[in-house]
């Protein structure tokens, strides 16, 4: 079982997979709370065109991925300003780039095999230099997130209040999509463009159902992401089934019971927690005071002993 760690490609897979799980865990939390799951899915599909174009031009796939997804992120934030239009605008950009991707691949020999490995990932084909690229990009992402994390969180939960407080909400939204684009590009080598989405949405969607405080939810989401990835690679290394199947199945298998079991808890709590966090974040209320004698809003059940330092 553990003997597989002697192989360098398994080590690389674990290293790259862990980095991907951490970044997707954090970014995914924002993605889910901002209601941008479809954008996440679209950006990962758009990456396909970039990777295919890179293969055609003979450059590194990561370069093509970064160019196409970041470009699409900017286009989405420009086109999809109206709420009702957003999904459609995202979808149009997505299908158009997918069409381009299929064109690029048809121009390239070894068409089907190349498409297959871009779409479904080749975790065994990760080299040490890929790991370094992944590490570098992840570090960059973390640095940016450390800078914009708090305003981003604020504007995700209450855009109106954030705008009233002078935060550049629109700019933050665009910047966030660009961050998602970079994350997708990193994650693509490990699980392929079609399944990046599994790591981007699965862990945070589960974590949000269980923990309501942002920091806790992000932490749990990272832990879940790491668990899925490690287990997925371990299981795949010891069987003939693909990594992406294990990762998606684990994500779904954990999410489903959590969603239904945590349902009753969250419906009652989410509203209270949300308005509470907003007020604290806005600085209009003192956290210590509120925890002790905050009026409960709908069910008459007081919230016990929560301390927000």
């Amino acid at each position: 079982m553990l003997a597989i760690f002697q192989y360098p490609f398994i080590q690389n897979a674990f290293l790259a997979g862990s980095l991907v799980a951490i970044t997707t865990g954090i970014l995914g939390y924002f993605l889910v709370t901002r209601g941008l799951t479809f954008a996440g899915h679209a950006l990962s599909n758009i990456g396909f065109a970039g990777a295919a174009g890179a293969v055609l031009l003979g450059v590194l796939p990561v370069v093509g991925l970064l160019v196409s997804t970041v470009g699409a992120a900017v286009a989405i934030s420009v086109l999809g300003r109206e709420i009702r239009e957003r999904d459609v605008a995202i979808g149009v950009i997505m299908t158009f780039t997918l069409g381009l991707g299929i064109l690029f691949l048809s121009l390239y020999h070894g068409y089907a095999e190349q498409a297959y490995s871009i779409l479904f990932g080749t975790i065994v084909g990760i080299s040490r230099s890929d790991v370094w690229v992944t590490a570098g990009l992840s570090a960059g992402l973390m640095a940016v997130l450390a800078l914009v994390g708090r305003p981003l969180l604020f504007s995700s939960f209450d855009p109106e209040l954030a705008e009233a407080r002078g935060l550049p909400v629109r700019l933050l939204g665009s910047l966030f999509l660009v961050l998602v684009a970079v994350t997708v590009s990193i994650a693509m080598q490990v699980i392929g463009v079609l399944l990046v989405f599994a790591l981007l949405v699965g862990p945070p969607a589960t974590a949000i159902r269980l923990v309501h405080r942002p920091a806790g939810a992000i932490g749990l989401s990272i832990i879940l992401g790491l668990t899925y990835t490690w287990l997925g690679i371990l299981l795949a290394a010891n069987s003939t089934w693909p990594v992406s199947f294990y990762i998606t199945t684990l994500a779904f298998g954990i999410y489903l019971p959590v969603r239904y079991l945590a349902k009753y808890r969250i419906d009652k709590q989410v509203q209270r927690e949300r308005s509470f966090h907003l007020q604290v974040a806005a600085g209009s209320l003192d956290a210590e005071v509120v925890t002790n004698d905050r009026p409960s809003q709908d069910s008459g059940v007081p919230i016990k002993g929560k301390r927000h330092a």
Partner: protein, 288 residues
């Protein structure tokens, strides 16, 4: 050019493509109206699982896709009448199905060509039986939609009032998703799993920019998808790039042209954009 039509596969492609274009133009109007673009995207990925499962069992891929998408449509319908706010659930179903499809693929063979055909369509390999099934399913969809037309339109425009008036929104929602599942399965044969969106949503979205009455919007949407589909096929036979690429490019061009036209024709319809995250928790109280 016209002697191309002597070939069976060319006739089959045009027939199947035409039926699919009409049905998806029709159904697509409601998809856009109901904000279920993501749901249709997810259904198409469920179709991927269906097609791979069919290949595994050695049955017709259309049957496999129909079975899986109808099942998933039922499941999604039970998620609630406001599928619009169920992005996360829909997304989770989508990835799980995709993962399952990958598993089926890896069990069948390591044959990547099968996967690419499913994902990007294989209109030129449509058989005579496929055409008959497509026409049958297409007719059934159109008839059902015609019967449901008025209540569905009402429930799509204003679900709350429709429900207050006694329109069974939840039942309609499930029925519509089943229709959507059929249309998606058919469209997959033509443009493939990844590009279903191009026929199902893009023409309707373009039409909605330019026509504001339901009938004219539907008519425009059907025309756009029909022109794109047949135009794409003609281009594919003349040029040598894949048909799905041409079809997708044509519908996308229609969409962007419609965006431009709308800005010129109806400049005052533009509304101040609101932030995406409002959609997630619409019932949230305003603090402070």
């Amino acid at each position: 050019m016209l002697d191309l039509f002597q070939h069976d596969f060319v006739r089959n492609a045009f027939l199947a493509g035409g039926v699919v274009a009409i049905v998806s133009g029709l159904v697509g109007y409601f998809v856009v109206l109901r904000g279920q673009a993501f749901a249709s995207e997810a259904l198409s990925h469920v179709g991927f699982t269906g097609a791979t499962a069919a290949a595994l069992l050695g049955i017709n891929s259309l049957e496999g896709m129909l079975f899986f998408t109808l099942l998933a449509a039922l499941g999604m319908g039970l998620l609630g009448k406001r599928l619009r706010n169920r992005d996360v659930e829909v997304g989770m179903i989508l990835t799980f199905m995709l993962g399952l499809g990958v598993l089926f693929l890896s069990i069948i063979t390591q044959n990547a060509t099968t996967a690419v055909n499913i994902l990007f369509g294989s209109i030129l390999s449509v058989t005579h039986t496929d055409v008959l099934v497509t026409i049958g399913a297409g007719l059934a969809t159109i008839i059902l939609l015609a019967c449901l037309f008025r209540p569905l339109l009402f429930a799509s425009f204003d679900p709350d009032i429709a429900e207050a008036r006694g329109v069974p929104s939840q039942g309609l929602s499930v029925l519509f998703l089943l229709l959507l599942a059929i249309s998606v399965s058919e469209a997959m044969k033509v443009v493939g799993v990844l590009l279903v969106f191009a026929l199902l949503v893009v023409p309707a979205a373009a039409a909605e920019h330019l026509a504001h009455r339901p009938f004219s919007a539907i008519l425009l949407s059907v025309s756009i998808s029909l022109v794109s589909c047949w135009g794409g096929l003609v281009l594919a036979f003349v040029g040598h790039w894949p048909a799905s690429f041409y079809i997708v490019s044509l519908t996308s061009i229609f969409y962007f042209v419609s965006l431009g036209l709308r800005a010129i024709l109806f400049p005052r319809r533009y509304k101040e954009p609101s932030h995406p995250s409002r959609e997630v928790f619409p019932e949230a109280p305003n603090p402070g």
